[in-house]
């Protein structure tokens, strides 16, 4: 087998992550992706036609809609395009793997890969919801009306979509799908109970994440953020984490909060659903030289490990969380202490805390100051596929900023699989 090529992360950009639904007058999934793609491609000498492939992942498209194809058309690009679209949070990581594999195997030279999620209900539902909520506001003196709201929201979201319009704007954000949500919460809850993570610790971590985000925002450490410009004239140029209390927001965030089987998890330690898009530009060495591209970092091929929920033996062994990381380190012949920074997916605070707990013996995760140093999705809001790209982009910039060498992006996804990917920042390479 021929040697694998090095994969370079050249550039990337993302939109702010928004926990408010803006789809009624805002960006559709396609427009979000296009907006970010423009930002990524603008500073480079090749035009969109120079791209070999566009790979997008989204939880907001149904299987019939090819987001990447539409994106390619709007960018004026004739590249091979593929969309990975599924209602789980693994789509982004799969897209990333596909892109880096294609470059490593010398099939493609320049790939635009990204993830996009929108907080959306189909237009019909949103219309009904808005009119109903206006009515509710009017009649708010009546207790019956007040009580009807959560029930109505639940009913509206549980109803399968009846839209037949073939656009990217019809299906609902993964985190707003009640089934997925229940599974996710159960999974987090089980983990919390098994590893004796208390609610206080989870809350403490959630607060830490928010403080870190605020610090990064204040000191302009958030990398490659592309502001969103709306037609009504307002601009969002920073992540709008946290919850607000207007009706539309409530309608889209309520479901992430209303199902809590045993009160093990508090509201704050589960990341709220958010919308956003992130795009990365990956390139082979030939493309880097050809177009004189600046290099942010090099990527290893991702490592996956699978742990099923029922596999209690492995869970008890105390190594399950780090299985993918261990495999990755073994592949790369690195030790834990050689890793400078970590980006760990924090869909719930449990994920990070369990990882920390399990890693203590290796003394890598023990100090949280090297994990998610600029805040994570607990503070930002969780746009599952876009977040995969965001973690990579943020880690690359963190390495560059602090002149560090290596970082690992790791995630545990809802079906129990783990993911780990190594980023290396080489000074020589940048020169």
């Amino acid at each position: 087998m021929s040697e694998l090529k090095t994969v370079y992360l050249v550039d990337g950009s993302r939109t702010p992550f928004l926990t408010q639904a803006t789809t009624v007058q805002g960006y559709s999934a396609l427009n979000l992706a296009l907006h970010v793609s423009h930002s990524v491609l603008l500073g480079h000498s090749f035009h969109a036609q120079g791209l070999d492939a566009i790979i997008t992942a989204s939880t907001a498209c149904d299987g019939n809609v090819d987001l990447a194809r539409e994106l390619g058309q709007r960018l004026g690009c004739l590249a091979n395009i593929s969309t990975i679209s599924q209602t789980g949070d693994a789509a982004g990581l799969q897209a990333l793997e596909l892109a880096s594999q294609q470059i490593a195997l010398d099939q493609k030279q320049l790939v635009l890969v990204g993830g996009v999620d929108v907080l959306q209900l189909s237009g019909e539902k949103m219309g009904a919801l808005t009119s109903w909520s206006q009515q509710w506001k009017k009649d708010s003196q009546s207790l019956t009306q007040k009580i009807r709201l959560p029930a109505f929201l639940q009913r509206t979201k549980s109803k399968p979509s009846t839209d037949n319009i073939s656009t990217t704007h019809t299906t609902t954000h993964a985190l707003l799908e009640p089934n997925w949500l229940v599974k996710n919460k159960q999974w987090a809850e089980e983990k919390a109970i098994r590893h004796v993570i208390t609610q206080d610790r989870m809350n403490e971590y959630a607060q830490l994440s928010r403080r870190r985000l605020q610090y990064s925002q204040r000191n302009s450490l958030i990398a490659a953020l592309s502001p969103l410009f709306y037609r009504d004239g307002h601009v969002i140029s920073r992540d709008m984490g946290g919850l607000t209390t207007d009706m539309v927001t409530l309608s889209t965030t309520a479901t992430t909060k209303e199902i809590d089987p045993s009160n093990v998890l508090s509201d704050d330690c589960i990341a709220p659903a958010a919308e956003g898009a992130a795009m990365l530009l990956l390139a082979s060495k030939e493309s880097v030289i050809r177009y004189q591209l600046p290099v942010l970092a090099t990527l290893s091929l991702p490592c996956w490990s699978h742990v099923s929920l029922a596999n209690n033996k492995l869970l008890a062994s105390g190594h399950y969380v780090n299985q993918a990381v261990h495999d990755l380190l073994a592949d790369e012949r690195l030790a834990m202490d050689e890793i400078d920074y970590w980006e760990c997916n924090e869909a719930s605070a449990v994920d990070v805390l369990v990882a920390q707990q399990q890693c203590q013996e290796d003394d890598a995760f023990a100090l949280l100051h090297r994990v998610n140093v600029d805040g994570g999705v607990l503070a930002l809001g969780n746009a599952p596929t876009a977040n995969s790209m965001r973690m990579l982009l943020q880690l690359a910039h963190t390495l560059k900023r602090s002149d560090a060498e290596r970082g690992i992006v790791t995630a545990t996804i809802s079906d129990g699989r783990e993911f780990a990917l190594l980023l290396q920042h080489s000074h020589e390479l940048v020169k």
Binding site: H38, L42, G43, S45, H47, R74, F229, Y230, R231, V235
Partner: protein, 685 residues
């Protein structure tokens, strides 16, 4: 019949003759005398040949027929070419008469732009079908230039669609799209091309099916005598916004119609006379002279640089999203160029999506895909990333020398080595702006004026050190965005800002001396200036005017009007802030009660003296510019005064006006001398 130059004649099934027009020498299908001769000949050969019908269409898909070819027009509008003009119009009148008198039905299929002569020929046909697409538009732009195509079309139009509708059509600020045209009765049907052909044959072969066609005149126009209909129309304020040149045409049309209503032949004969008179009138000739200047500039460029030799930019990076930045973005996007728009202020960029959406929605109504395509080419760049890759970088920030200096230095360092750097400064000399640049030869100025003027040309500012290659690049860019560049030597205020500020400063000085702004505005309007000075100041923005005024004052020793400084000091910035010299509410000028009754007051301000001062200042400034050699020819000063200062086109620009004034004065002096001589003779006798 000898071989035809302009027509393809095909006799097809059902004895229907298809007459396809092609005018090879004119891309816009403009007509000339040869075309008219050949058309008459073709019609003569078809007549009485057992033809069941005639279908008229154009071979070019985007245009049917438009106006008169420029060469022909300049021949006809020359002084002393009255007979030629009359001959030409008589020929056209004859053609339309023949077309109307054809024994078989005639159908015109209009696919693309149709204006002027096209309208005259179209209305002589029995039926008209418009092709349902955006580029099918009907207009009569000749009225704006102060003449009409005297083929008898105006009386036919009134007969067919009524007086009110004709008036609306002639003075409409925009051309009519297919829907408006059908609604006003100008066409009988709107169909896609394949169906239009079928329909035209159908109407010819089965004439019964066309019974329900035909525009129904409003009841009042059937009952009332012409004079009352005219009175009603003018009472409705239809002519309020018409310019002096338009009014000349409309007056001629109304006179003809009221005098010869119902007498078709006489009315058409009269139209030939009025068209000839209007075309040879001084105001129309001056207007055509200005147009001719522009056309000549364009033609010279096209000859010097054929399209394959021009450098076509792919990516334009615009820095500054103010009025000029946005205007330039629109122009670039209309030509399909990719634009990245950068501004340090996110708030300034925030207004862009809405404004662009509204603009392209008006340009491409009911074409969401086209709007989306246009909007996709605009990239709001918050990191100034586009500067590195753009072929042309445009600086469009505020008129601040130091800000421009540092920005241009940065752009010079960051941009591609072969990129052309364009500054949109309205008054700062280029040599001052390029002093810090590493490559000053890359800097070219392109002053397009305020979007309000919507000028068809732009000032191409040439500094001493600019390279020929970059100049050609900038020139090509200007042509690409449909702004004919006028080469101007770099100096303070260039030409347009200098003349415009002379006009505005003089008005402000007059106002400072105690004359009311309304009187000055009215006097300016009365001398046929396009923009009254104080309304113009409010539109342009007082702050911007002050900045330009300060720049000119430093370099040319202009006075800065105290009043302007006071207004800006008070925070009154003009129309967009709600108050300047006038107050505005929702963009509408509010009339002061005192101003509204001013004309009823017993005393009058001497309008003539105000006009003289404004004229004198403008003419003196123009002469100085000419003496300084800012432009090569006096013609260009005329062009700039008309387009950028709003000087009356019917006067033909400041220097042209001065010439004609001198001639008249000399004639008067000569006449006075003769009279004096005769008087002295008689006295001696």
């Amino acid at each position: 019949m000898s071989s035809l130059q302009y027509f393809r004649v095909k006799r097809r099934a059902g004895d229907v003759v298809w007459l396809t027009i092609t005018i090879p020498e004119s891309e816009q299908h403009e007509i000339n005398a040869a075309f008219l001769y050949e058309f008459i000949e073709v019609l003569g050969s078809i007549q009485d040949q057992g033809v069941s019908g005639l279908i008229l269409r154009s071979a070019r898909p985007e245009v049917f027929l438009t106006g008169i070819q420029a060469d022909t027009l300049s021949l006809l509008s020359n002084e002393g070419a009255k007979q030629k003009a009359q001959g030409f119009f008589t020929l056209g009148g004859q053609l339309c008469q023949n077309l109307q008198n054809m024994t078989c039905p005639t159908v015109a299929i209009i696919d693309g732009a149709c204006s002027g002569a096209g309208i005259e020929i179209m209305v002589a046909c029995d039926y008209r079908i418009l092709i349902d697409k955006g580029s099918t538009r009907l207009s009569y732009p000749e009225v704006d230039d102060g003449y009409h195509i005297g083929f008898g079309g105006l009386s036919r139009l009134i007969d067919q669609i009524g007086f009110d509708n004709t008036l609306d059509f002639l003075v409409a600020p925009h051309s009519y799209d297919v829907e408006t045209a059908v609604r006003s009765g100008l066409a009988d049907a709107v169909e896609p091309l394949h169906k239009a052909k079928w329909l035209a044959r159908q109407w010819i072969l089965y004439p019964d099916s066309t019974d329900d066609l035909g525009y129904q005149l409003p009841n009042s126009e059937r009952i009332l005598p012409p004079s009352l209909i005219v009175a009603k129309s003018s009472f409705n304020g239809r002519l309020n916004n018409a310019s002096a040149l338009e009014l000349n045409v409309l007056e001629a049309m109304i006179d003809t119609w009221t005098a010869y209503a119902g007498e078709e032949l006489e009315a058409q004969q009269e139209e030939i006379k009025t068209a000839t008179a209007l075309l040879s009138s001084k105001p129309t000739q001056n207007k055509l002279y200005i147009k001719h200047l522009l056309a000549t500039l364009k033609q010279e460029y096209v000859q010097a640089y054929p399209i394959e030799q021009r450098s076509i930019p792919q990516h334009i990076h615009i820095i500054g999203s103010g009025t000029i930045g946005k205007y330039m973005t629109k122009l670039c996007v209309l030509q399909g160029l990719k634009v990245s728009l950068y501004d340090v202020r996110h708030a300034a960029l925030a207004s862009v999506p809405h404004e662009m959406y509204a603009f392209f929605k008006s340009v491409y109504p009911d074409r969401p895909l086209r709007i989306q395509q246009a909007l996709d080419t605009i990239i709001l760049d918050v990191h100034n990333a586009g500067v590195k890759q753009a072929d042309i970088v445009v600086e469009a920030i505020q008129e601040d020398k130091h800000a421009k200096l540092s920005l241009l230095l940065e752009v010079d360092k960051k941009s591609k080595p072969d990129a052309c750097i364009i500054t949109s400064t309205a008054c700062l000399p280029l040599d001052e702006l390029s002093q810090d640049m590493l490559h000053p030869e890359r800097l070219v100025g392109l002053n397009m004026g305020h979007p309000l003027f919507d000028a068809p040309c732009a000032e191409l500012i040439i500094s001493n050190c600019v390279s020929a290659e970059k100049l050609e690049q900038a020139e090509s860019f200007a042509y690409l965005i449909e702004k004919t560049p006028i080469p101007i030597k770099s100096s303070a205020g260039f030409l347009s800002s200098r003349l415009l500020m002379a006009y505005l400063t003089e008005s402000l000085m007059l106002h400072q001396s105690g004359i009311s702004k309304t009187d000055i505005d009215q006097a300016a309007l009365a001398m046929d200036m396009t923009y009254p000075p104080f309304e113009l100041l409010d539109e342009l923005g007082l702050e911007e005017c002050l900045k330009v005024s300060e720049a000119l004052s430093d370099r040319l020793g202009y006075d800065i009007p105290k009043l302007l400084m006071e207004k800006v000091g008070k925070g009154l910035k003009g129309k967009h802030s709600g108050e300047g010299f006038y107050t505005y509410k929702n963009g509408e000028k509010q009339t002061n009660i005192l101003e509204s009754i001013r004309h009823k007051l017993p005393w009058r301000v001497d309008e003539k003296s105000i006009q003289t001062r404004l004229l004198e200042r403008l003419i003196n400034e123009s002469r100085e510019c000419l003496n300084l050699g800012i432009v090569e020819h006096a013609d260009l000063i005329d062009l700039i005064t008309v387009i950028f200062v709003g000087f009356s086109a019917s006067k033909g620009g400041t220097l042209s006006y001065l010439d004609s004034y001198k001639k008249v004065a000399a004639q008067q002096a000569q006449a006075a001398k003769t009279v004096a001589k005769e008087t002295s003779k008689t006295e001696a006798e």
